[in-house]
């Protein structure tokens, strides 16, 4: 197998594992389909925006949870934001943690919120690494003169 085919195989396998393991859902595939010659970096751009945004939101939530009097409504609004953006990019695991997180906000359960905050942070980190790996594979394929297999 030549280099391009090998890389393409790696890409397909890696991509499939992300879906299979629930890191991303079909919405991510929808984003991949939006890439074209005029917009080749679209998914990378959106992913970058997402991780910047989620980082800021996580910090805001952490601050709010450290206050002597916790404003659960405020935290909930941040979680709602994160849930929305994770849904829009297809970050399925992050989105699912947000659903649980919102329940804890509603119940005004600080402990539960802290656990969810940790989980959300963790899932964002993992996803960031996984997508970096995926994007790197894409770059390697393109650099080797191949085309990126679509679903």
């Amino acid at each position: 197998m030549d280099v391009v085919s090998q890389l393409q195989r790696q890409f397909v396998d890696y991509s499939a594992s992300l879906y299979r393991e629930g890191y991303v859902d079909d919405q991510f595939n929808q984003l991949q389909q939006l890439k074209d010659e005029s917009n080749p970096d679209f998914v990378v751009e959106v992913a970058t925006l997402f991780f910047d945004d989620s980082g800021k939101l996580v910090n805001k939530m952490a601050d709010a949870l450290e206050q002597p009097s916790v404003d659960f409504k405020l935290i909930d609004s941040h979680v709602h934001q994160l849930k929305g953006s994770s849904s829009s990019v297809g970050a399925a695991r992050v989105k699912n943690v947000c659903i649980t997180f919102r329940n804890f906000c509603e119940a005004q359960n600080r402990e539960g919120c802290l656990i969810c905050l940790q989980q959300v942070n963790h899932e964002c980190s993992i996803l960031k690494n996984k997508l970096q790996t995926l994007f790197r594979l894409e770059q390697q394929i393109t650099a080797a003169g191949g085309s990126i297999p679509m679903h």
Binding site: D36, S85, S88
Partner: protein, 149 residues
């Protein structure tokens, strides 16, 4: 007052859509989806900014000059801090200048009362997030119908 500033004969002018959303990720997504359907896009991060773009703030008067890049459709998120998408919709429909502009409301939450309230207030469509290309295709359909009237 006639809405359409586009002559049918010179309708190669791309439709101008104003997309309002407080989420930077969603703004990027809706902008790309709309551009893929050949729309010119202006984004706003909140309703106040949207009203500025539409020329509906205080004594701002937007002249219906053909040189103005007139907005042909507004798509707005429902849940936004400050003025909500619903309130923005109402302001647009209450304005004598902008009330004919089609407005589409998006939301991540499927709440029938919310949907009905927006449709009753004159929204052309209510779309559930996350937005997909098929959604955008549908709403550009509304655009074209408006323009040909």
């Amino acid at each position: 007052m006639m809405n359409s500033s586009c002559n049918v004969s010179s309708s190669s002018k791309p439709p101008h859509v104003l997309a309002v959303d407080d989420s930077i990720v969603d703004r990027k997504l809706v902008e790309t989806l709309l551009k893929n359907f050949s729309c010119k896009v202006t984004t706003a991060e909140n309703a106040m900014r949207a009203l500025e773009v539409l020329g509906l703030v205080d004594e701002q008067q937007k002249s219906l000059d053909s040189t103005d890049s007139k907005v042909n459709l507004v798509i707005t998120d429902y849940c936004m801090p400050g003025m909500t998408g619903y309130e923005l919709l109402k302001k647009i429909k209450e304005s004598s200048v902008m009330k004919e502009v089609p407005v589409v409301v998006m939301s991540s939450e499927n709440i029938p009362t919310r949907i009905n309230e927006c449709l009753q207030e004159g929204a052309k469509m209510f779309v559930l997030k996350p937005l997909k290309p098929s959604d955008v295709k549908k709403l550009t359909g509304h655009l074209m119908i408006e323009e040909s009237q």
